[in-house]
Symmetry: C2
Subunit: 155 residues, 2 copies
């Protein structure tokens, strides 16, 4: 169970965000930032039926992450917090999770996803894509710990 697990990127993210720290803390705060998700052609068949979904989870590798920090001051607070209670990238396994809005599909193999609400750095290796399904993922009674009161109350 402690052996290494190996993944191979299925694509790469293209974004106007090129400098570490250039992005918004979350894509929801950047509805106008657009980008593309290039899925390598050998995986394009897996994109079948994706166009009916408005929002996608992108799972990706924080390729510019530095050394692990188990405690870290997050963007929205002045106190250090446990790395698993924040979204910062210097994690034991630097896997990123973002919600993006799917605005179109293009490319010669229908393998380029056009998206907005982008908060991911240009050149980031893509690991997986999953559809956002509120019926699976959303809960009504969510408590957000140290973030309580730090983001707008209807969120």
């Amino acid at each position: 169970m402690t052996t290494d697990i190996s993944y191979r990127p299925i694509g790469v993210i293209h974004s106007p965000l090129t400098a570490p720290g250039a992005g918004p803390p979350q894509g929801v705060f950047a509805p106008d930032i657009e980008g593309t998700v290039e899925v390598f052609p050998e995986f394009a068949q897996g994109l079948t039926d994706l166009s009916g979904f408005s929002h996608l989870y992108l799972l990706y590798h924080f390729h510019l992450a530095g050394d692990v920090e188990l405690l870290k001051k997050p963007f929205l607070d002045d106190s250090p917090r446990g790395i698993f209670a924040i979204r910062y990238f210097n994690r034991p396994n630097p896997i990123g999770l973002s919600v993006v809005r799917l605005t179109g599909i293009s490319g010669s193999s229908d393998n380029i996803l056009e998206v907005s609400e982008m908060d991911i750095l240009d050149g980031t290796p893509l690991l997986d894509i999953k559809p956002v399904v509120p019926g699976f993922d959303y809960r009504d009674d969510v408590k957000v710990g140290w973030l309580e009161g730090k983001i707008s109350p209807d969120r």
Copy 2:
């Protein structure tokens, strides 16, 4: 960009679900299934501040996944769908994403998370934990493609 990426499990998931296919398609359909998330003690400091959150994303390795299927008939439909438009585990990179409810923290190093809404198989290697933050993750206008009408309308 196509070189392998290597991760090491940060813990292991303990669950009453032991047979592949035994679990519910999603934890939201199984509010009474409980389990524990054992985080290896060397990462326990990263759990600081987690107790204030009611729900967590668990990212994990589908360790019993089989060969990749780019098209697959999902649980909730009779037609094959693209693998990136469903949540099935035989993915190019078999990374699972589940929302669980955090009900307690125990263990000599405060490293055992007690959770419900469990849909993960016993023995699954854990890769990452992130807090669920509706203000970051939830959207109001989500279209769910082929799943439209297949799950209850308030979801």
